[in-house]
């Protein structure tokens, strides 16, 4: 299945209300001697309800840091110096650990780059999914395992019942990423799904399958999705909104069409030229 044939429900309108707003978010890394090194400068962006938004930029541009700040799992040495992160009017930055725990998983969930490292090697994949289901939905053991197998089936992993009994090391990279997506999107049932470079390190064919799956799940469930990536090819094929980041700053924001055909910022044009997508889109 490729993007063109995926059963896509119509994308949400781009004027939809924002689910999450980041306003003037700045922060620095604190060195051992107490010195602050600024890494994020007044980052402002919106993730509109039901829309797939891409955050693009090269390595070190701060995109992962922004995503982890949303969930409050940023590195311990990171210090916020200003700004707010609003989810439905609630400032996530002001929440304590208990408040953030309620948000994590149930309202916002995340898919990591290396799925095999994000799955616990000691437990079967099925059990890990079932555990999360039990925790978030208060289900019984058998019911949770049923939900886990069902989620594995819905991300197109063959023989889901057998696969659920296997350990992460018995999964290939692409398969593990599917399982991780099953956990983050189907078991957690969040309002916002953040995907941090979900296809990096996978074969090109597997990459496109994973993106198809993300697209299918996001559209069919009306999920607000934030895709963090440096792969503009992936963005062109799947996303409606694009946020371009460079050196800790948001340099350009707009619809995917605008960004790919009429980018205003010099860095964005450079990025497009490097990936040769600007010309393709034009």
């Amino acid at each position: 299945m490729n993007v063109a044939t995926a059963p896509i429900v119509a994308a949400a309108p781009l004027n939809a209300a924002p689910l999450l707003e980041i306003e003037n978010y700045s922060g620095s890394f604190r060195a051992r001697n107490g010195d602050l090194t600024p890494v994020l400068y007044n980052v402002s962006l919106q993730l509109k309800t039901g829309v797939i938004t891409a955050v693009v930029g090269e390595t070190g541009s701060g995109k992962t840091l922004v995503a982890s700040s949303i969930l409050g799992i940023q590195p311990a040495t990171f210090v916020r110096t200003s700004g707010r992160i609003l989810l439905g009017g609630v400032d996530l930055v002001s929440l304590d650990e208990k408040g953030l725990r309620k948000i994590r998983g149930g309202q916002i969930s995340m898919v990591f780059q290396d799925a095999r490292a994000a799955l616990n090697p000691m437990f079967t994949v099925g059990r890990q999914l079932a555990d999360v289901h039990q925790r978030l939905h208060g289900s019984g053991k058998a019911e949770a395992m049923e939900a886990a197998v069902d989620a594995i089936r819905r991300v197109h992993i063959p023989e889901p019942a057998r696969r659920a009994r296997q350990y992460p090391h018995e999964f290939s990279g692409g398969m593990a990423q599917r399982a991780m997506i099953a956990m983050a999107a189907l078991i957690c049932e969040p309002q916002l799904l953040i995907l941090d470079e979900p296809t990096t390190g996978l074969d090109v064919t597997i990459q496109s399958e994973i993106m198809d799956l993300i697209l299918e799940l996001s559209r069919s469930r009306g999920l607000t999705t934030c895709l963090i990536t440096h792969d503009l090819g992936v963005v062109a094929a799947t996303c409606e909104e694009v946020v371009v980041m460079n050196a800790g700053r948001v340099v350009e924001t707009g619809s995917a069409e605008t960004i790919f055909t009429a980018a205003k910022d010099g860095y964005t044009r450079k990025l497009l030229a490097a990936s040769q997508l600007g010309e393709m889109a034009a």
């Binding site: 969930l71 799992i73 725990r101 994590r104 995340m110 616990n120 000691m122 925790r135």
Partner: protein, 264 residues
């Protein structure tokens, strides 16, 4: 591994059997002649007081194995719990825990056990408490190192990301990944505990001198070694060697079994 389990199963069976049946009363002197060599009537001979060595050996399994297993279990649970907390949360708790561990580790285990047993007096309970205490620092250090090195791994982050409480991330997600080295150490610790129990007995510090414990029995028989009554010290020594060896063999295999990646 099978050899280790086999030998330990034999010891456990003997210890259980000794609760119900021994050829003679192990505490009864004069069931045979003093210093009878191994014979059909007394397969392992008799000691100076004429008590049956086989009966005493069987009862000894109960003491030595029981003390080792209980002491190791307590040390494992307490040491691992403290180590997990210190490793996961770090900070002041970690600093205090590690400095205390270093203080305790500066003492050799046997010397520490001797000093404390001498101070609090002999008895099974005291020996167990001392041995558990002596084992805690190593488990604490091991667990702390394992948890600390895995704290920022991605599956820990993923567990936090789905809203798990921090203690759950530490004990339910990280600790199972650290179980291999900890469980492998239990066998080394059990062997050490058995040796220290026997050593304390030998030095006359551990249990009551009349208790049929292997270390006591070696101590009682040491005079005989020079005059040809070798069996009184030899068989308890062999029993200790077998038990510690079995624990070591088992330990090597445990870390393989606990890790699904290495399970065959």
């Amino acid at each position: 591994m099978r050899i280790g389990i086999g030998i330990l199963a034999f010891y456990v069976a003997v210890a259980i059997l000794s609760c119900f049946w021994t050829p003679y009363d192990p505490l009864q002197p004069g069931v045979g002649d003093s210093y009878s060599p191994p014979s059909w009537a007394f397969p392992l001979g008799t000691d100076r007081l004429g008590a049956d060595m086989l009966s005493r050996m069987m009862t000894g399994a109960r003491y030595d194995l029981g003390i080792a297993v209980v002491a190791v279990f307590i040390a494992l649970v307490v040491g691992t719990t403290l180590g997990t907390v210190a490793g996961y949360y770090g900070g002041v708790v970690d600093t205090i825990a590690m400095r205390l561990v270093e203080m305790f580790e500066a003492f050799p285990g046997l010397l520490f056990a001797m000093l404390v047993v001498k101070a609090v007096g002999p008895g099974v309970l005291n020996v167990i408490v001392v041995l558990s205490f002596a084992g805690i620092p190593t488990y604490l250090r091991l667990a702390r190192g394992e948890i600390r090195s895995r704290r920022s791994w991605q599956y820990a982050e993923a567990a936090r990301m789905v809203g798990n409480r921090s203690w759950r991330v530490a004990f339910a997600h990280l600790l199972p990944n650290s179980a291999g080295p900890l469980l492998a150490y239990t066998s080394i610790n059990a062997a050490f505990a058995a040796l220290v129990t026997a050593s304390l007995g030998f030095l006359g510090l551990g249990l009551d001198p009349n208790t049929p414990e292997w270390g006591n029995m070696i101590a009682r028989g040491q005079d005989g070694v020079m005059t040809g009554e070798w069996w009184i010290s030899f068989f308890p020594g062999l029993a200790i060697l077998g038990m510690t060896g079995a624990f070591y063999l088992l330990g090597d295999a445990i870390s393989d079994v606990t890790d699904p990646r290495r399970r065959r």
